[in-house]
Symmetry: C2
Subunit: 204 residues, 2 copies
DNA sequence: GGGTCAAGAGTGAACGATCGCTAAGTGGAT
DNA sequence: ATCCACTTAGCGATCGTTCACTCTTGACCC
């Protein structure tokens, strides 16, 4: 993953991967069919992982669409910040053969639909106001995945900090306005109330 | 650009580039020092181009931070939708040698600061309410550049449509709330008023 | 329990192909 | 005569991949 992330798929040599793992090249070919299989395995397990975590987070979040939405965003951002190696996720799918690419896109779409479901639920109950939930969901997923591109663990913000900020940003993107009843995580509730407070100040 | 976009930097052969251009390989080397120079030229001219367009758009937009902000977002998205070949922009900078990479990052930062300036101006006049303008600016730039990754010209939306929607989304991201005096482009004014209308409905 | 054998996991060496790049030469315009 | 734009041919290096082989482990039969 580190190698693919540093040099890209074509820029990474099988010899380099073997060296990092600490085995010889034919040993890699004993476990994986070819170079592409290495990338496919990496992409699919990673995407499945983040998808699974988001499903779990959403299940824990309860019934409120706003909580569910926040949980997904938080989950994705924390994952991306903690595992920066996945920055290349979306930029290397062009190196996949069609059927491998299709399987990966399917996983990614699951995540986007999950997001879209909560956004639409939020709109239905009046919490979210965006007239274009599908575009908003795609944009949010893009900006959350983008975190992996710039986050550095030696910076000032922890992954949780970044996640909290992105929850705030994303709530704005879907047109969330009014502050709500206290949510479960204290940090999220605080961020949301901050947004709500400023909202009220500005609206007057 | 098409070749780099399809296969990535390392995945593109000099022979392929030469073939697409319609010349032989040494003819390329007569005009460019090496393969990297081809990528550098492409990245820098493209980034300078979008930066110049944004500067022009912001100059035309007048003094209102909201108008200026909207103009930048619209400009970037239209550019990305029209020239999809630039999708690889941010994913190929890792293939650059350090000094080339630094020059490109500098250009990109100019764009981000331009965005940040308008966001902060908007906050100062009370139009935008986000407490984290820097994070918002970065997130917005990420999601606007992301348009190049999925936009297809054979889809239902024109570049202008997509730009309009992203203006709406991005206004939400920076915490824009109240509808304002009519702006210049009718489509933008309409989108903004839609957002405002729904905002008022929801807040009650 | 000792001998046999098959499978698993890995190695060193090398294959053909293709890569980025260049030396040397050609034709035409100034 | 000289430079520009470009060509053909081919260089050495490196790529993904495979061949043939070794070593270890564990199951099996007598």
């Amino acid at each position: 993953m580190a190698a693919f992330n540093e040099h890209g798929y074509h820029g990474t040599t099988v010899r380099d991967i073997a060296r990092r793992v600490g085995v010889t090249v034919p040993a890699l070919y004993y476990h994986y069919e070819n170079k592409q299989a290495l990338l496919v395995t990496l992409l699919e397990t990673s995407m499945s992982d983040v998808l699974g975590r988001c499903r779990a987070a959403v299940a824990e979040a309860g019934d409120d669409p706003v909580d569910r939405f926040s949980a997904i965003v938080e989950c994705i951002v924390v994952y991306m910040a903690n595992r920066r190696g996945l920055a290349f996720l979306d930029s290397e799918i062009r190196s996949l053969e069609p059927e491998n690419r299709a399987r990966y896109v399917e996983l990614r779409d699951s995540l986007q639909y999950m997001l879209l479901d909560t956004v639409e639920a939020g709109i239905e109950q009046g919490s979210f106001t965006t007239p274009i939930p599908a575009d908003a969901s795609r944009a949010i997923l893009t900006m959350c995945q983008g975190v992996a591109n710039w986050y550095r663990s030696d910076g000032a913000l922890t992954p949780s900090d970044v996640a909290e900020r992105h929850v705030l940003l994303c709530l704005g993107t879907v047109g969330y306005l009014a502050p709500r009843e206290p949510a479960k995580p204290a940090s999220l509730r605080q961020a949301r109330e901050n947004a709500g407070a400023r909202t009220r100040d500005s609206v007057g």
